[in-house]
Amino acid sequence: MSKTDLIGGALWEQYSAKVNERMSNPQYMGEITEEEAKRMGGKLVIADWGAEVCGDAIRLFWVVDPKTNKILSAKYKTFGCGTAIASSDVMAEMCIGCTVDEALKITNLDVEKALRDDENKTAIPPQKMHCSVMAYDVIKKAASIYKGVNMASLEEEDIVCECARVSLRTIKEVIRLNDLKTVEEITNYTKAGAFCKSCIRPGGHEPRRYYLVDILNEVRQEMENEKIAKIVDQKSFPLMNLIQKHKAVEQVLNEQVRPTLLKEGGNLEVVDMKEQNGITHIYIHYLGVCAGCPSSKTGTLTYIENFLKNELSENIQVIIV
């Protein structure tokens, strides 16, 4: 923990001078009317994003030249904290002179960078990063209105962490490549979840479509399944732990033994497995007609044991209980 964390409360001290300046004297705050837009020779676009009940809301005004798709003027109105005001102001400035497609490439990270005094020092503290996201979202909204398309169609990929703009694909990839086991590791590798923390697990500041905890569980499960599949594929039964062995045994039984027994109206269950002197003892219990069948202790038993021996390992012994 850093000394800053021990002291605490240093929220405003972490704002850059540019953030302070924009909060005090926003340059692009205001509205644009239809007449003004007409006079500039452009089309007026008005986009709303967020809601006051969520603590952040913005209305973006663009005047777009319909021939070149260039943004001639941009203004905004915003309900939000200082960071939201400063981000909206810089965002509006950055839009001017861009084409609509170019503006679509402006992210909250660009806005944050533009607010830095020193390129190596972030302009706002981590927990405020969230407040700059709205500035990015409203651009997409405005572009979708101008183009007359659905906003989702402008999404290039699924974003898990809005603050750091980390995609689902990236997160899945780093978990696999680096064998990550905790959410903290994901955050360290990708910065996802380092800011407003909403994307870590449900119950945060705002509901999200994806949560890091779920993605981690899902990918770890996939990786585990693949590992087992690989071991089974290699038939390296002796290398498995008992649980993996049990799974492998069940798989063989399900695929090759049970269908035959079921046809006759019987079945079996594995009740225990033990390792002794390199031999795997599999204790089974017959169900249905098998239970009373005279061959269950002879022919059927050999039949089952042979299947397991062929598929998995010579060192298997099946015992009836």
Partner: protein, 388 residues
């Protein structure tokens, strides 16, 4: 720039008289009161005076305890965790009843105990922002409830809870009752003979005493193990060398707080009401809770279209210190839990700012603050879309 401090529910300035009273105990009479020599024993009479002032301040009996500790957070932890060790682990009682609007030191202690398997019931406040005794009545079970912990006055809104009624209800049912009275000392009459609480906690820095010292009242006969184990200080109820200067300061601060109760409820209240009236005369503003049932120094105001952190930031630029529990100012980004619990609309949870006065607040400061609020609100509303 001249600064104006209107965040007295967070902490207060140390009354210069209190500071003077503490002064000799740093470099002159610095002995450890547990030592047998004269350096130790010479502080005993002063400690006794300080304790007398504290006992008198809340009208405790000689047979009761006021355990001197580091703060109300410590006192509240001692009570809640102590009840767990003393009662929950030794009897069939395994429930604690508290409210949704307690200070984090109560809420988080309760959550910690939930992790150890006890059940905690968090009572909501009603639309007036207070805890309804009828609701408590429904939730306490003499066979199961180990402790009821309800604050006397809320730090965010200043709303005063009907503590006498709540405490009496618990007493009638044989259930222990604790109240966090940090926002009450010096603002309301606190009389533990009149209000049958078993535990009451306070902190010196909320009533013009120093930071780092507080008190825990324990009624005679009520048992609770110490939170800090060690030496025999405080009769074995709280180990650790006593903060002598802090204790002396807290004792005197308590005496002054009681002395100024009348002033607080007339002059401070008048200034508060003046500010409140002026805020309410602005367009689209709201003050939470009826002023008659609030501590005389507190206003939680909402200005439509003006986000809370933006407003305190703007006021700070103008030299005025206020606070907000609004989402954007805190690490957690959660809306103000008190406002959410009061069910007064999530939008307000992002707009509330708290102004809290003290006996050191002057009329001029209030007038200047009002001007600043007007300017800040006007500016932020011009940026905001709400005025469209």
């Amino acid at each position: 720039m001249e600064r104006i401090y209107l965040d007295n529910n967070a902490t207060t300035l140390v009354d210069p008289r209190v500071k003077d009273a503490m002064e000799p105990f740093f470099s002159q009479m610095y002995g450890n009161p547990n030592s047998l020599h004269s350096f130790g024993s010479e502080v005993h009479p002063y400690m006794r005076i300080a304790l007398d002032r504290l006992y008198a301040g809340i009208n405790a009996k000689d047979s009761d305890d006021i355990v001197i500790n580091s703060c109300a957070t410590e006192g509240n932890n001692t009570v809640i965790k102590g009840v767990y060790y003393e009662i929950v682990r030794n009897t069939k009682k395994n429930e604690i009843v508290t409210t949704q609007v307690e200070h984090p030191c109560v809420i988080h202690s309760c959550q910690f105990l939930e992790g150890l398997g006890i059940k905690v019931i968090y009572l909501p406040v009603n639309n007036d922002g207070i805890v309804d005794p009828d609701l408590l009545k429904e939730q306490i079970d003499p066979d199961k409830t180990a402790l009821v912990s309800i604050m006397w006055a809320n730090n965010e809104t200043g709303l005063i809870f009907p503590i006498k009624e709540l405490a009496t209800l618990c007493k009638e049912n044989g259930v222990l009752f604790h109240t966090d009275a940090v926002q009450t000392i010096g603002k309301l009459k606190v009389d533990v003979q009149d209000v049958p609480v078993d535990f009451l906690t306070f902190s010196a820095h909320k009533f013009h005493g120093p930071k780092g010292v507080g008190g825990l009242f324990i009624r005679n006969g009520v048992k609770v193990p110490p939170l800090l184990h060690g030496g025999e200080q405080m009769g074995g109820k709280r180990a650790g060398t006593i903060n002598i200067a802090g204790l002396i300061g807290m004792g005197y601060a308590m005496e002054l707080a009681v002395e100024y109760l009348e002033y607080e409820n007339t002059e401070v209240r008048r200034l508060r009401d003046k500010m409140e009236d002026a805020i309410l005369s602005l367009k689209d503003t709201l003050v939470i809770g009826a002023r008659e049932i609030r501590t005389p120094n507190t206003i939680l105001a909402s200005f439509k279209g003006v986000e809370g952190e933006a407003l305190i930031w703007d006021l700070n630029q103008r030299g005025i210190a206020a606070s907000t529990g609004s989402a954007c100012a805190s690490e957690s980004l959660e809306p103000n839990p008190t406002l959410v619990a009061m069910n007064i609309g999530e939008e307000l949870a992002h707009t509330g700012i708290r102004l809290s006065l003290s006996r050191f607040t002057t009329e001029k400061e209030i007038d200047l603050t009002l001007l600043a609020i007007q300017k800040s609100v006007e500016r932020l509303r011009s940026i905001s879309m709400s005025n469209i």
